[in-house]
Amino acid sequence: MKEIERNYPMLTFVTAYLIVWFAVLAYMLRLGGEQRRLRRTAEALREQFDKQRPARQRAA
């Protein structure tokens, strides 16, 4: 118990930093997930675009 009391300032500091970095990491993971979702959607649209290209060129 005395040991915890003695290290209390350090524990408080470490706790604050861990909370900050876990929160930032969670947000960055969310951004990464969104980036992957956008890439998949763009790839699907690109495939559709390439498939339709000959017909669209003829029509143009």
Partner: protein, 240 residues
């Protein structure tokens, strides 16, 4: 190295590496360079990140209000992308300000929370951020979302000067401008600059994602763009 969805190439990755190095340097400075304070010990080091995230929380709100105001004047969703990106980053920073402040307060004042003017106005700012997030998530139409976000941002921006001046205008327990040794001030400066660059990078990345998501949604709903508009190629900005 190929370009990515947000138009980054090798230079972009180099930029991310530079930001990571800056953040690592800031953490190293906080842990190793800053002297230990006599009264509070290591718990005082919380200040270096608390001030940095608090500043970003305030700056994002002002930015959100300005972008919202421009949206209301021009009705251009591009400004709403900036506003929404600032809302997300600002909410994160404001929440972290309250949490780190609470941990610091427990070490300094032996209480997690007190209704000090600075703390109260900061809490109101967090409530404004949360209100903007909740209101936006309840509406589907992007223009209605943008309008609601802009109005909350402009009204809420009135709280920003109160947060900044709370320690001068009202009596409270929050330190006005703590006396620091020169080495501490240098570390605080490094921390604020590095974290500002870091969160600004996240803001730019999020804004770019919102813009691309909007373009993809338009293409999915309205069909592929005519060949004349794309010069025969798939829009480069959307390539994975």
């Amino acid at each position: 190295m190929p370009e990515t969805a947000s138009g980054r190439g090798f230079v972009g990755y180099l930029g991310y590496a530079a930001v990571a190095v800056m953040v690592a340097a800031a953490i190293a400075a906080i842990c190793l360079l800053a002297p230990t304070e006599e009264t509070m010990g290591d718990a005082q080091r919380i200040v270096y990140i608390h001030v940095a995230v608090a500043w970003m929380g305030l700056a994002c709100f002002i930015f959100m209000a300005v972008a919202g105001g421009i949206y209301l004047a021009r009705r251009d969703l591009a400004w709403d992308h900036w506003s929404r990106a600032a809302l997300e980053i600002g909410w994160l920073c404001c929440s972290l300000t309250l949490i780190t402040g609470s941990l610091w307060a427990h070490a300094a004042w032996n209480t997690w929370w007190t209704w000090d003017p600075r703390l109260t106005t900061a809490f109101v700012l967090w409530a404004m951020y949360s209100a903007a997030l909740v209101l936006r998530s309840g509406v589907d139409d992007p223009h209605r979302q943008a309008r609601m976000g802009a109005i909350v941002a402009i009204v809420g921006a009135l709280d920003v000067p109160l947060v900044v001046m709370a320690t001068r205008w009202f009596r409270g327990v929050h330190p006005q401008s703590p006396h620091m040794e020169p080495a501490m001030r240098v570390v605080l400066g490094i921390s604020v600059v590095c974290f500002t660059v870091f969160f600004t990078t996240l803001l730019l990345l999020r804004r770019s994602q919102l813009r691309i998501a909007d373009m993809l949604e338009d293409m999915e709903c309205g069909g592929l763009p005519p060949l004349s508009e794309t010069a025969g190629d798939f829009p480069r900005v959307l390539e994975g």
